[in-house]
């Protein structure tokens, strides 16, 4: 055996190398304060290991990036640990970097003969920041997409070449496959390679000048091995333990409520947001916490408008320059003091800017709502992805999902007139249905639960009552139909339906409560929205007869049978998918309101010129499906099974 080592040493000289490495002099002996550099190297090695393995599972294109990360997180064994380690170690690296830097400056370790050591350190810092910036985009989720978009857009501020520079970095004018491929090459190839080179140079200079010992004369010298190695190892263990805590924090703080169809991995390791969607802007966009100070800095009023370039490029550039000059500044008598003051001031400034940013966000309800919404969307994406992702990528799942798109499209196209929210005393809240932001002043009917017995019953209810949303003029006792929930804000308040409800339906001699209920059931039966269990076949049949009665509904409405007298909306298939699509396409059609149409625009008049319409067919269908509550929801059975499982996995709260 010894011979083999001898032979190996003879050919490679490894002994000398190992001796060099291990038996480095440490004047004053091993100390805890020397561990920072080693922990940084350790963090980098962890990133190399985890990064290489992640690389083997990652796909850098805009239809596969989110999907492959999803696959790592939710499908591959140990994937969430691997991702979590990489994600949180990256952040630990930033913290360690700051500590290392702080110590070097405070101890004066940047001074001669260690200038080059210091400068390579600064370059390493920039590379690490570059790694964070490029890595943030790779999962291609909303968070990373929008944050990186901001960062690269700011690049456009660079004078003269800004626009071109931006195009080069983004790989084109728009974000897409090319951007991801570029960022990935930078993140996994170029930057780590550069980092290795500069780390080598940094270590070389470090070894050349020896450790910058503080107070060494009072203690005995020692070798690096084994005492300092042990201290370094323990420090690395501590770093790893802290990082691991973040990775598994989902175990210690299990989610309050279980979302059906979302595996438990959603709460472990690093979060994966909803897939990036350029069409769906993301108001919760923020850079990673360590860049927050820059973000806040740019928001300072002095950098508004044309001055932005100072905040984004000039001042950070000057600060960087100043840092590079530190070794020279340090030569003057007061120089070291200045440097220490500078670095403390910078840290203090960055700290307070970060604090300001966080405080601003947490007192901003809009931001908080956006964050909550982003979380809901990310879980929804997982729910859908669990059913299998088509070639079009997860984004196509989200874009075709009424539950996701409905509220967005409804708010955009319908929400300035129609509300979609529960109404106290009329429309009870349903946890499955999302309420949208109500219009300033509802002028058209509330469409929450449209087509259900509940909605129709409220609409036909003749009894005046005090309602939360009464009239434009304020509080009053009104029948629901005359309140803002239904016709209160429209011209139809003066129409025949409103008076028919209050006068005729309100007259028990004309309409008994049973008859009203029968009509409600028969109408709800048309929609397909109402669950069949709620409908009684006999009542539906009775209601249909009433609806076709020439002295009642059929005076004005058509319902299945021919009816030449009809001039009010056709109730055949009322509130069903087809009826709604047709109605929204053109409410002023003969079949619906005709000349009596109030202000509702025709959204989809001409199928032959899809672009000439106010809305696209697909969007219209998504809105209608959303109104009807028609979307994929994981089965309740699956839910109860899953929660049983999760009870076993998770300790009780």
């Amino acid at each position: 055996m010894n011979k083999l080592w001898e032979w190996l040493d003879d050919r490679t000289g490894y002994k000398h190398l190992v001796n060099e490495a291990l038996y480095e002099h440490i004047p004053g002996g091993s100390r805890w304060r020397y561990v920072w550099g080693s922990t940084l190297v350790f963090a980098f090695v962890v990133q190399m290991i985890t990064g290489t393995f992640l690389w083997m599972a990652y796909s850098a294109n805009s239809k596969g990036a989110w999907e492959s990360v999803y696959y790592i997180q939710y499908e591959m064994q140990g994937g969430w640990i691997l991702r979590g380690l990489h994600h949180f170690m990256a952040q630990a690296m930033i913290v360690l970097l700051a500590l290392h830097f702080l110590q070097v400056v405070i101890d004066g370790a940047y001074k001669a003969p260690r200038e080059f050591n210091f400068w390579t350190g600064l370059i390493l810092m920039k590379i690490v920041l570059g790694l964070s910036l490029t890595g943030y985009l790779l999962p291609w989720d909303q968070k990373g997409y929008w944050a990186t978009k901001v960062a690269t857009t700011l690049m456009g501020l660079v004078p003269v070449v800004g626009g071109d520079l931006q195009k080069v970095v983004v790989g084109g004018a728009d974000y897409g496959h090319a951007t991801l491929t570029r960022f990935f090459a930078l993140h996994a190839g170029v930057l780590p390679g550069l980092l290795l080179v500069f780390l080598g140079i940094h270590m070389y200079f470090f070894r050349r000048a020896g450790i910058h010992a503080v107070g060494a004369d009072k203690r005995t010298a020692a070798y690096f091995w084994p005492d300092q190695v042990l201290k370094d190892a323990v420090a690395c263990l501590a770093v790893l333990a802290v990082v691991m805590l973040f990775v598994v924090k989902g175990f210690m703080f299990p989610p309050q409520e279980h979302v059906a169809g979302v595996p438990i991995e959603a709460h472990f390791g690093a979060e994966l947001g909803a897939p990036a969607d350029p069409a769906n802007s993301y108001s919760a966009a923020r850079p990673e916490w360590y860049f927050l100070f820059l973000f806040q800095f740019l928001k300072l009023p002095i950098f508004a408008g044309h001055n932005e370039i100072y905040g984004a490029i000039v001042i950070p550039g000057l600060v960087m320059g100043l840092l590079f000059l530190m070794p020279f500044i340090g030569r003057w008598k007061l120089g070291h003091g200045f440097n220490v003051a500078l670095i403390l001031a910078l840290l203090l400034g960055a700290g307070s800017l970060t604090f300001m940013a966080l405080r601003e966000d947490w007192s901003d309800d809009g931001y908080k709502a956006a964050v909550a919404d982003a979380h809901v969307q990310s879980l929804r994406a997982v729910q859908l992805a669990q059913q299998g992702i088509p070639d079009g990528g997860a984004i196509s799942l989200m874009r075709n999902d009424p539950k996701t798109q409905g509220p967005i499209l409804f708010t955009r196209h319908c929400g300035s007139c129609h509300a979609h929210q529960p109404v106290e005393g009329l429309l009870a809240a349903d946890p499955l249905l999302a309420a949208t932001k109500p219009p300033e002043q509802s002028s058209a009917p509330n469409l929450y639960k449209f087509g259900t017995t509940e909605w129709i019953a409220a609409f036909l209810d003749p009894h005046a009552q005090k309602l939360a949303t009464a009239t434009v003029d304020g509080e009053a006792e009104v029948a629901p139909i005359n309140s803002l929930t239904f016709f209160g804000g429209t011209a139809h308040i003066e129409g025949e339906m409103a008076s028919y409800v209050t006068d005729t339906i309100g007259d028990e001699a004309e309409w008994t409560p049973d008859q009203i209920e029968a009509v409600v059931m028969a109408l709800a039966n048309e929609s397909g929205v109402e669950s069949q269990e709620k409908l009684d076949a006999d009542q539906v049949a009775a209601g249909r007869t009433l609806l076709q009665d020439d002295n009642r509904c059929a005076m004005c409405h058509k319902f299945h049978a021919e009816n030449d007298a009809a001039y009010a909306p056709d109730l055949t298939g009322y509130a069903s998918r087809e009826w709604l699509i047709e109605f929204i396409s053109n409410p002023a059609a003969e079949k619906f309101y005709g000349d009596n149409n109030d202000r509702m625009p025709s959204f989809y008049l001409d199928p032959h010129q899809p672009l000439a319409n106010r809305i696209q067919k697909k969007e219209l269908e998504l809105i209608v499906d959303w109104l009807g509550g028609d979307w994929y929801e994981p089965e309740a059975i699956i839910e109860s099974e899953k929660s049983l499982e999760s009870v076993q996995v998770l300790p009780d709260e």
Binding site: M56, A216, I389
Partner: protein, 189 residues
């Protein structure tokens, strides 16, 4: 700055403990990220292949009872890591209806040698031959190697089970599988 006095030799026993601790802890912190990576790396071992399921390939009528093998694509739902698509071609098979019978023989079209797709050449040999373009393995229409001594393929073409019940109803259903290479016939699951 550095003190050029040689450090004193450390106390042997204490230093042994320190060394052991340094190696153990150092090894552990390196092992953790590596183990996490390795677990993920080995994940494919536990994944199922798309093949190995019963699939309808053709109707019996469409197959002339002449003993000549004909190629059919195998179409099925396909899981490609995170993507799931229905009706994707996942392989090819040869079906052969024996003369004057309802018996169907089915072969995986992949050559057992190294997986190239074999061609059936009706004019080669006596009654036609399956020929592999890659290393020139020849198989008779019944799937047996023409000359087992010199054939690069270590085994005959891989037969696939045909569902007898479905065959009675006039449909050809087979259990589609892919096989590992080598003399033994082991399905890839």
């Amino acid at each position: 700055m550095t003190h050029e006095t040689d450090p004193s030799p450390p106390d042997e026993r204490r230093s042994f403990l320190t060394k052991a601790a340094a190696i153990i802890i150092g090894g552990f912190v390196g092992f953790v990220p590596f183990a996490a990576g390795l677990a993920t790396f080995l994940d494919p071992v536990f994944r199922k292949s798309n093949a190995s399921k019963a699939l309808k390939i053709a109707s019996l009528d469409s197959l002339p009872a002449d003993g000549v093998p004909r190629q059919f694509p195998v179409v099925s739902d396909q899981t490609d890591a995170w993507n799931q698509n229905s009706n994707q071609p996942i392989g090819a098979v040869y079906l052969r209806r024996l003369p004057d019978s309802e018996m169907i023989e089915a072969f995986n079209a992949a050559c057992p040698h190294a997986g190239c797709a074999v061609d059936f050449k009706p004019n080669a040999g006596e009654a036609g031959l399956f020929q592999c373009p890659c290393h020139k393995s020849d198989f008779k229409p019944d799937g047996a190697r023409l000359d087992p001594e010199t054939c690069p393929s270590p085994r005959d073409l891989d037969p696939l089970p045909v569902d007898a019940e479905k065959l009675k109803q006039g449909e050809v259903w087979i259990e589609f599988m892919n096989f590992q290479t080598g003399p033994e016939r082991k399905p890839i699951t």
